[in-house]
């Protein structure tokens, strides 16, 4: 299992490069993960998506579909792709400290 040091703390990742333990996540870690994904700064709009994803994950045990996310979070598809370029679902989940989404939509 890959282990990497982030902000002075040893953190475990799964084989997809997502956080292994949900509890390791905090906002500072999220900012570091975002930088690794090529997002230098997390705006309020990013946080809206990240918080919504974490909230849904706690409810259903998986990241929400893009359709659900865009319908309920207030961030539409176009903006979502601008916020998390090159793979919004996976990227947002990674930054939110969640495992890779299981759905196809």
């Amino acid at each position: 299992m890959p282990v990497r040091e982030i902000l002075g703390k040893m953190i475990e990742f799964d084989d997809d490069g997502h956080l292994k333990n949900l509890n390791d996540w905090n906002e500072e870690i999220a900012k570091e993960l975002a930088k690794e994904e090529g997002i230098p700064e997390l705006t309020d709009r990013h946080w809206l998506v990240i918080n919504y994803m974490r909230q849904e994950f706690q409810k259903i045990g998986d990241a929400p579909s893009i359709r659900k996310l865009t319908k309920e979070s207030g961030v539409d598809t176009k903006e979502l792709y601008q916020l998390f370029p090159k793979g919004p679902a996976k990227k947002a989940a990674k930054i939110a400290g969640l495992p890779k989404p299981k759905g196809c939509i």
Partner: protein
Amino acid sequence: MSNNEEIKKVSIIVSRGSLDGVYPGLILANGARMEGIEANLFFTFFGMDAIVDKRMDKLSIATVGNAAMRLPWGQKMPTWLGMLPGMAAFATWMMKQEMEKLDVPPVREFLQMIKDAGGAIYACKLAMDMFHLKREDLWEGVDDILTVGDFYQKAAGGIVLFT
């Protein structure tokens, strides 16, 4: 070539106009965008129905000549049953219900989603001529009408999937 080389672009040809003929292409295109892969959708022959504004909300499933058709409890559907009036409508309704449960949007919404995600939607010039379709018959989101040659130019450097 390495087996792990990433796919960067995919061009998907949708040639069939039944609900089950159209959805795989849409799911593949949307899935590609979700992974950061460039996606083109090219509609041709009966697949055109998915981008004809007046038809795209009314796509259906063929219950006749579909050897894999099953009844809701899993038993194979006898061929004669598929011919009964209302069976195609019923099967279509069933599938739409199941899709909605999985958060798969209806065709029009799905195409808009793919477009908003940066995917491109193209119509086939030959099919337009063959079915006597005009630009104004098409869904407004269609990016362009292409010849086969245009299509290959757009598809250059990526993989092509035929559905």
